[in-house]
């Protein structure tokens, strides 16, 4: 019967699709690849990361709250991939973590007109490591 190969093909295709949605996006050569978890449960992140980011944006800019969990700088620090030369690839470059899914979901976002798309290589003040002494700091 001619319909059987079709059925097999369709099942295979839908399986493929669900594999992709189930987290194939985290890329091999990023820090995230070494971890089991995002900053919130994966399912929640898939659906709600934009709300977290917009909330964090206002908290940081207006109230000076600098927690790391929902910070855009930190998403990039953890999700950005390194190429074979050990150089960071822009998170919004083709096929990269944020860009890949957004293309699939037809999302366009302007954040990266301003926000850096790669982690700070010197990691000077990315929030994770600051241990410099400021002689004139008066607090």
């Amino acid at each position: 019967m001619a319909i059987v190969p079709w059925l097999i093909l369709m099942t295979a295709l839908s399986l493929l699709a669900s594999v992709e949605l189930a987290g194939a996006q985290v890329l091999g050569n990023s820090r995230a690849a070494e971890l089991d978890q995002c900053v919130e449960p994966t399912e929640f992140m898939r659906r709600n990361h934009m709300e977290l980011l917009i909330h964090q944006r206002d908290e940081t800019v207006h109230r000076g709250i600098r927690t790391k969990n929902h910070s855009l700088v930190e998403c990039i620090a953890c999700h950005a991939e390194k190429d074979s030369d050990g150089q960071f690839v822009s998170i919004n470059a083709e096929g990269q973590f944020c860009q890949d899914c957004h293309v699939t979901a037809a999302v366009s976002m302007d954040c990266f007109q301003c926000h850096a798309t790669k982690p700070d290589v010197n990691a000077q003040l990315t929030g994770l490591a600051i241990a410099m002494t400021r002689p004139n700091c008066q607090r």
Partner: protein, 251 residues
Amino acid sequence: MKQAPTNAVPDKKRRSFFTQAAAGIALLTLAPGVRLVDLALGKKDETAVTGTVRWGMLIDTTKCAEGCVACVEACDTEHGLTGFNRPKTDAQWIRKLELEDEQTGKAHSLPMLCQHCANPPCVDVCPTGASFVRKDGIVLVDKHICIGCRYCMMACPYKARSFIHEELSEQKPHAPRGKGTVESCTFCVHRVDRDHTPACVEACSEAGHQAMIFGDLNDNNSTLTKVLGELASKQVREDLGLNTGVRYHGI
């Protein structure tokens, strides 16, 4: 001139004794774990800024060296302010002014930057609310809300703001910047929120001049207020009544 500081000092000491004593009493009378004064002083990442602090700066023009641009370079590096070789429009958050009294010939060198006014004209004219004064006195642009109309640039008496005309790439992660928005000195808010001083102040002190002191204007014990209590200082265009957070000595 020499007399004023010596007169001022005991007064200050007495005042700080009283504040400390008051803090001590408050600590004794409040329930355990509840404090009126945060003894750790440093701001935690998860705490919001408050009006208890007002960030400010004193620029001692007698120590500011003519031709020295250490503060300007440090600011450019810190925020990734690379120019397009268009001096009229390239972003500049801090610039050096060389002034001379035409009558006496006395020369001054000083850095000009956002004066972090308590009553800022840029905030008054902003149609979207993008320009705002943070609770701790830092005047900022929320670039997420800025529509690039540039009214604030017109309103600022200090010419402290820049507009970004070009598309940018390779921004610093801690200093997002993009075409079509206005920006100005943030007092290095990303550093201050983590208990560090602004890049310009650090560079000035590394260059051996110590012409810039950063600190809390509301804290009687900060080096800034102590020095302000001893040195005569001025606000640029004091007549406008803007109550600037940046003060100058020696002009």
